[in-house]
Structure formats: C-alpha cells, structure tokens
C-alpha cells in the first residue's frame, strides 16, 4: 500500500486519505508537497479547501489565492476561494471571486448560486435576482435548485414581493421536502400574507424537521400567541429560548404567553432575562460613547502637540472599545509619530484586519510601511 501510494501523485494520495477520513494525514501530505513544489496548484487548492472546511480560513485563503494565481482560468478555483472568503466574512472579496468563476464558466450553477447569495448579502437585490434566476435554470427542476429558490424567495421578500416569495418557497420544499429553513420562511411569508392557517402548517413542518431550529420555534410560538393560543406558544417559545437564550423575540413572547396561562412567576423570571439584555446593551452603548469621548480628547491633545498624552487617551479609548478600528488607527498614527514603529505598525495591521475593505486604513499602513525603518517592516499587508 505504501509503495502504491508513493507512486501516486500527492494530490491523489491526499484524496485517498480523505476518503479514509484521515484528514490530518492528508493535510500533512499536502503541506509537504507544497513545501517541495510550491507551484503545485492542485495541491494548494485541495489543501485550501480542506482547511476552509475545518475553519482555518486564514491559511486556507492564502493557499487558495496562490492556487488561483497559478491556475487563473480555473472556475472551480475561483469558486473555492470565494467560499473561503465567505467563511472569513469578506463578502465583497467573495463576490469578486464568484464573479470571476461565472465569467470563466457561465454554466457553473453552484458559482452563480454563491454569487447570488453574496450579492444578496451586499444588498444588491437586482444582481442577486439575476444570478439566482440563472442558477435555478442551470440546476433544472431538481433538488439541487432548492437552495437557490430559497435564496430567490429571500430576494422577493426583501423587495416586498411576498406572493412570488411564497411561490419560490413552495417549489423549494417540493424539490427538497426535508428543508426546514425553507418551511420556516414559507411560514413567515404566509403569515405576512395573512394566511395564518398556511403559516401554521409550514412552521409546524419546519420544527418537525428540525426541532433545534430556534428561528422556526420562535416564529411558531409567536404565531400561536398572536392567534390566542398561549399554551401552545409556550411549548415552542421555551424551546426557542433554550436554543437561543438571548433571543429577544422569543423571550418577550414567552413572558407574555406565560402570563396569559397564569404562570406569573415563570414569566417574571423570563422578563428578568429580557431586562438583563437591555441593561447589557445600555452598558455597551455607554462604553462605546465613553471611548469616542476619550478619542476626541486624544485628538485635541494631539492638535495641541501633546502626543504622549494623546497616546494615553487613545489607548484608554481602545481599551474600552477594541472593536473601533478608527480609534485604533488614531492610536497607531500617534504611536508612529512618537517613533514607536513596531507598536504603531502592529496596531495599523490590526485595524486593517478589522476592516479589510477600508481603503483609507490600507493606505495608511502602506504609507507607514514605506516610511518605516527597514528593521521593523514586514511585507505582508494581511
């Protein structure tokens, strides 16, 4: 067996290992192969795909980008990169990759579906509709088309075309009867169309197929409450809250339903959970505003030339709100102005990672790298 494997190309061996559920061996093999042959595009693409599936997106994207560079005409490669970028939350980047994939292979239904989803997420409803319609045609009247129809229904819903959304969702669940999300959306759309009976049937089917679907459980429970059936509502809403403890909709409907059936003490406990969510949000808002205030004070100090004090204000602001990339950039620039190149560049890199599509941040990093002493530069912007 070992001899046979040794004679096979590395990528084929990796596929064999994957078939035997030996993922880590496959990864090790591909890494070794890439170490020996960095231009092996297939190895990079397979390794990137495996890593993406395992959630190791940063390394996956690096391999897939290199794979795409080596095989620029491979639609599959662009599609794989798009999927990894989607996993990493870079939807705009993913859209560009999917677009390239469908340019290279206009009949690539999966890439069109992926592109449709990316466009939908980016708010381009017309673009999403076009791609999903083409994907649906390419998939044909088969189960594979169910997800594209489900997404197309979302576009219709976003556009206020509820009847059309209902038609797509009905088709989706016909093609794939065990599709709980589509049943759930069908229930929601029917409720919005005023068809409570149809909504109830669809939502019941959704929770039957997937009792752990918090969204469907919430929708069904809330609908029961609206229809004056608090006892039935409680069953589904309690399950929804167990699945998703911070689900405001479920918590609010549950405390109301419990009161209607006389379970006041339980209702009060649920209300307390809900109130705690509001308090947490308040605290977060207050912290965020305090960070902005400190940042402004830093900016004032910087204007007056007191850089060291400004840095302290920015640092304190960032401690309060580490997610605020703008404050981080101010902090970084002030550090750079103080000659603290390594810390400044590191903060700028972090800001770019926080907002990968912010061109201003990227440009600030490029400029800083251009001016930095050679000893502190690192070439990779990502």
């Amino acid at each position: 067996m070992g001899l046979l494997c040794a004679q096979k190309p590395a990528v084929e061996q990796a596929w064999d290992l994957l078939a035997q559920d030996k993922r880590s061996e496959a990864v090790a093999l591909l890494r070794a192969e890439i170490g020996k042959h960095p231009a092996n595009a297939e190895a990079r693409l397979l390794l990137g795909s495996i890593l993406a599936e395992a959630g190791e997106t940063a390394e996956a994207i690096a391999h897939l980008r290199e794979g795409v560079r080596l095989q620029p005409k491979a639609a599959m490669a662009h599609n794989a990169l798009g999927e990894a970028l989607t996993d990493a939350g870079d939807i705009a980047g993913a859209r560009d990759s999917f677009r390239k994939a469908v340019e290279l292979d206009p009949q690539f239904a999966q890439a069109r579906e992926n592109l449709g989803l990316a466009l939908l997420q980016l708010g381009d409803l017309a673009g999403a509709a076009e791609q999903l319609d083409r994907a649906i045609r390419l998939f044909g009247d088969k189960e594979d088309a169910a997800y594209a129809r489900y997404l197309r229904a979302r576009v219709h819903t976003e556009s206020g075309e509820l009847e059309k959304a209902e038609t797509q969702l009905r088709r989706a669940v016909t093609l794939r009867p065990a599709f709980p999300e589509a049943w759930s959306d069908l229930g929601q759309v029917r409720e919005n169309l005023g068809d409570d009976k149809g909504a109830l049937a669809a939502l019941q089917r959704a929770v039957q197929l997937n009792p752990d679907g918090a969204v469907a459980q919430t929708r069904l429970g809330s609908l029961y409450l609206q229809l004056g059936k608090p006892q039935e509502a409680v069953t589904h809403l309690e399950r929804a809250v167990r699945l998703s403890p911070d689900n405001q909709t479920a918590l609010n409907s549950l405390q109301l339903a419990l009161r209607e059936i006389g379970e006041t003490e339980k209702a009060d406990r649920v209300k307390a959970q809900l109130a705690e969510i509001f308090r947490k949000r308040d605290r977060a808002s207050q912290t965020a505003l305090a960070a902005v205030r400190l940042n402004n004070e830093g900016a004032e100090l910087e204007k007056k030339g007191n850089l060291a004090a400004a840095v302290e204000k920015y640092r304190a602001a960032l401690e309060l709100n580490p997610e605020h990339a703008g404050i981080r950039v101010n902090y970084a620039v002030a550090l750079l102005r103080l000659g603290q190149w390594e810390r400044g560049l590191e903060e700028l890199r972090t800001a770019v990672r926080q907002e990968p599509s912010n061109e201003t941040f990227r440009k600030a990093l490029e400029d800083a790298l251009a001016q930095a002493p050679a000893s502190v530069r690192r070439p990779n912007l990502r």
Binding site: T157, E158, G160, L162, N192, L193, G194, S222, Q226, Q248, T249, A250, L251, N252, S253, Q255, L256, R259, A267, K271, L274, A275, F278, D282, S285, Q286, A288, L289, A290, V292, R293, N295, N296, A299, G326, I327, N330
Partner: protein, 560 residues
C-alpha cells in the same frame, strides 16, 4: 435612535372607498409666521437641537375659539434672538395674532414639551413647558397674560434637566391636577461629542450628533398638587422613581385598564416604553413589558417618539399608537379591556409605511364617518442625511391612514389634498377644530420653518358632536374624564388628555364623527368617579357638560 430595519407589510388591495376630507395648509394666510428653530437646516450639532418640540391647541382666553402655542428650540451656534415660543390668538376669522410678548410668554431656549390644564382650578388654562435647563409653569392670569410661577409652585430644579414629555394628571382623583414630567436623558455639552468633530457619532457612515444611546437616562418625576398653588415631589413615594428610566419622550395619562384611575404611558426612544399602572393608593407600578406595551411585536425596542390614544377597535377601550424611526413600523397596542395589549401594527395595515422617521401622531375621525383615522408627521433626525443618503429624507410628507373598521387601516396617499404631500421636517402636531366648523384640523411644528396649519374641509355630510367638559368636584379641565359615545351600532370611548402626539396638546373638546347617525347617547365618567348619561342628544353641535349640572350649553355650528 434604534430601528428594527423591518420590511413594510404588504399593502392590501385598495378599498376604493372615497375619503371626504381635504386638508389645506393655511398657516401663512392665518398669520403663523415665526419659524421654529431647531439647530441648522443642514446640521444639528447636539441632540438637544434635533429633538425639537410640541405645539398646543388651547383656549387661553375662554372665548370658545382655539388659540395656538408653538414651542421653539434653538441652536448652539448663533441662536436667533427671536427664537421663542409663540402664542397666537385666534381672531375667529381664520387668522391669528401673535400675542407672545403681551402674554408674557417670550422666552428663548430649548423648549420641548407642553401640557395644558387648570392646575389652580380658577377657570383658566395654565401651561407647563419642559426645557433643556429649567422647566416652567405659567399661571394664566385670566387677563390675557401669564406669570412664571415655577419657583413659588416649588417646581424649580437647581440642576439643569432635559425635560421632554409632561402631562397634567389627577392621579389621586382629589380634584387637583398633578404633574408627571419625563426627562429624556442627561446631557452635558462638555461630555458629549459634537457632530462632525473627530470621532463624533456615526449614522450609516455620516458623522452626526450623539445620543440617546450611550448617554445616561433621564429620571422621570411626579409632582402632587397640594391644592394651594404648590406641588410636592412624590417621585419616590409614588414608585415612579423605582424605574431605572428609559429615554422618555411623549407622556400620556389615561385609564388604560378601565378601572377608573389614570395610568401613565411614556414613549421611550431606543428603550422599552413605560406603562405606569395606577395602584389607587398614590403609587404606580411600571408594567409595560408585562402588559405587552413596551416593545414591538417581535420583542424589539423601538425609537418611541409620539403617541396617539384612541378607541381604535370601537369597543370602549383605549389603545395606544406609537411612532418610531425609519425602517420601522409604528406600534399599535390594542387593548383587551383589562390593561393588557397586543401589538398589531403589521396585522392592522399600519405596517405598510416604514419610510420615514415619524413623530407627532393623532387618531381622530377626519372624515366624520364614525371611526378614528390616523395621521402622523415625519422628518429625519439628522439633516446631514439629505446630501448623503438618498433613501433617507430629512423633509418628508405627512402620513394618513383611514380606519376601515375591525382593526384594519388603509394608507391614503395623494387623496386628502396636495398639501399633505409637501415635505417638511416636522416634530409635534396638535389636533383640534380651530375654525369651529365641525371637523378636526391640525397644526404642525416644522423645523426651521413656520408651522403648518392644515385646515380640514369635510364634504361627506356625515354628522358629528363635540363634547366640552367642565369639572366641579373633579379638576376643572376635566382631564381624565372618559366620554363614551353610542351612535348607530357603534360605541367609542375618548378621554380628555393633557399631552399626546409628540410633546403636544390637542383640543380638549372631544370630537366624535357619527357617520349617518342623527342622535347619540353620551356617557361621561368624571375623574372623581361619578357617571352621568345623556341619551338621544342632537348632532352637529358642541355640547358643554358641567359636572353634576348636565348639559349647560349647546352650540349648533354650520356643518363643514
């Protein structure tokens, strides 16, 4: 401000019914000329500039014709010296005269809310106005002038506050009007970043003024009227002070659970709204979440601004309609008659409109067909959106819905006259019959413009009745009195309130459209608790009922 980012509900097929009401903006001709200052036309540096203010329809000189008090805000940079509240006296010919200075009401500053009521039971309507800084109680001297009696009434506060909603309410039913005051938030120039400054707050990528989120809640207050011209702060003793707060705006007082005692509801911005239920012993318990009146149907906080209270379902109980931010529906809380509510905006048809930031709102029977319709005004909070966000309108049209009955509403666009489509950035509005012609007109606060005065002309031939109440044992303004009208096969309840819409005050003569009915039975439940009934009352008239004395006056006006 918080928005749920909801999609509008699907519009039902048009009913095809005619709507026999037309509105014409007659403000300029009527002499309402002074602009209401609220920041700058292209920016608001601080939230105190952006929230703007209310307006009151009230009869300050007891001549039987509605006068108008228009509040005004200001701005941080270059505040105009003439930016004052304005009192316009009704000349009884469709025009008004500005009597602000003569009445002693000229005052610059950031005014927000107004409540009107005869707190000293001397027969003349007094005013309480909330400010950023110091709230003011004006006693009506009965001779066309007012006196600032804030200090002597013991309503003075040494610390500046951001007063917003306020309403007179006789919460202990002793015949003296008490006072509830909401405070929006704690604001300090030194602590709040200015819009457009480095690191100011951000709305969809635009640098804008900060708040309310992130700023501390205002604390709401209740003052008991001692019956001698002074008030006692009973915030703690009454239980109002137990509530952490919420960014409170408009406050309404009405009996929401049909127990004969006034409750208080506060629209809260970006936080759960508040319902203080009256415990009949001088205390309140806040129960909005428990009663289903705090959040949207899907359990989200909304940017509560304005409130309308009406018998939307014509079942003798009062519901609440609350306005919110753009990309959100209004909330329609329909009552089960026992003080619990279900939010029904999407199911009622009101959820079709989500495009505008919405403020002052009223539920009144504009076409006199016998069911309350709904009207609200709009306008963005951030002037800066105009140039940068094509979907967000700083100035926007008015919104009108017809009541179709059975809890259903239908939006009317372009049906009730072109002046409703003219865009303004509006805040408060008040509802009342300024020309005494048997319908409901509307006065609207527009930011950095003069107000609008939307004269309603009804052509349906439908009948109506107006009920004016004067308390004797109850407070003289009869605030909190419940009038239930029975006409045809319908029943409708209304209450005399001292604030609603957005920080505004409506005509306290209650107006009932009656459709084709030619007589009406009227039941009055006075704040003190007694009930008086009047059967087979004639229509198309104002009846004046004095507590314990029956109908003391009837005025038959021309039908509009």
């Amino acid at each position: 401000m918080a928005s749920r980012s909801v999609k509008p509900a699907r519009r039902a097929a048009p009913s095809g019914l005619p709507f026999h009401s037309r509105f014409t903006d007659v403000a300029i001709k009527a002499g309402l000329k002074h602009p209401v200052i609220a920041g700058h036309s292209d920016r608001c540096d601080y939230i105190i500039e952006a929230m703007s203010c209310g307006v009151a329809f009230f009869d300050f000189d007891n001549d039987g014709w509605l006068d108008i008090l228009v509040l005004s805000g200001s701005r941080f940079d270059d505040p105009p010296a003439t930016a004052s509240n304005r009192l316009y006296k009704n000349n009884r010919d469709g025009t008004f005269t500005d009597v602000t200075e003569k009445a002693g009401l000229f005052r610059t500053g950031y005014a927000y809310g107004v409540t009107v009521g005869d707190y000293n039971n001397d027969g003349f309507e007094d005013l309480f106005i909330t400010y950023y800084g110091q709230n003011v109680l004006y006693r009506n001297n009965g001779d066309g002038t007012f006196t600032d009696v804030t200090k002597e009434a013991k309503l003075w506060s040494d610390a500046p506050r951001f007063g917003s909603g306020c309403t007179f309410v006789d919460y202990d039913r002793d015949g003296n009007l008490d006072l509830f005051v909401a405070n929006y938030l704690v604001f300090d120039y030194a602590a709040v970043p200015r819009a457009g400054s480095s690191g100011s707050c951000n709305y969809k990528g635009i640098l804008v003024n900060c708040g309310p989120r992130g700023l501390p809640y205002g604390r709401h207050s209740l003052y008991r009227n001692n019956g001698d011209g002074t008030f006692t702060d009973v915030t703690e003793a009454s239980g109002i002070g137990k509530v952490e707060g919420g960014f409170g705006l408009t406050a309404v007082a009405a009996d929401f659970d049909n127990d004969g005692w006034p409750d208080i509801y506060v629209a809260c911005d970006s936080t759960p709204s508040l319902l203080f239920r009256n415990n009949h012993d001088g205390t309140f318990t806040e129960e909005a979440l428990e009663r289903g009146a705090a959040l949207s149907e899907d359990g989200m906080e909304q940017a509560g601004m304005g409130l309308a209270v009406a018998d939307f379902q014509l079942d003798g109980s009062l519901g609440i309609l609350k306005t919110h931010f753009e990309d959100d529906t209004v909330a329609l809380y329909l009552s089960n008659g026992k003080g619990s509510f279900r939010e029904m905006a999407m199911r009622s048809g009101l959820g079709v409109e989500t495009r505008y930031v919405s403020w002052g709102v009223g539920a009144a029977d504009f076409d006199n067909d016998g069911a309350p319709d709904v009207f609200w005004v709009t306008g963005h909070i951030y002037p800066e959106v105009d140039k940068k966000l094509p979907r967000s309108l700083y100035k926007a049209p008015r919104v009108l819905f017809r009541n179709l009955g059975q809890g259903k509403f239908e939006q009317l666009i372009g049906v009730a006259g072109p002046d409703l489509e003219v865009p303004h950035c509006s805040r408060g509005c008040a509802f009342g019959d300024f020309d005494n012609d048997g319908d409901v007109d509307i006065v609207v606060v527009n930011q950095n413009e003069p107000p609008s005065l939307l004269r309603n002309d009804v052509t349906s031939g439908h009948h109506w009745i107006k009920v004016k109440l004067t308390g004797v044992k109850s407070n003289r303004s009869a605030i909190g009195a419940r009038v239930t009208a029975r006409y045809g096969d319908r029943i409708q309840a209304q209450e005399v309130m001292a604030q609603s819409s957005y920080l505004s005050v409506n005509d306290r003569r209650l107006h009932f459209g009656l459709g084709a009915s030619t007589s009406v039975d009227i039941e009055v439940r006075w704040p003190a608790g007694t009930v008086e009934k009047f059967t087979n009352v004639g229509v198309d008239r104002l009846i004046h009922i004095k507590e314990g004395a029956g109908i003391i006056e009837q005025q038959t006006w021309r039908r509009s």
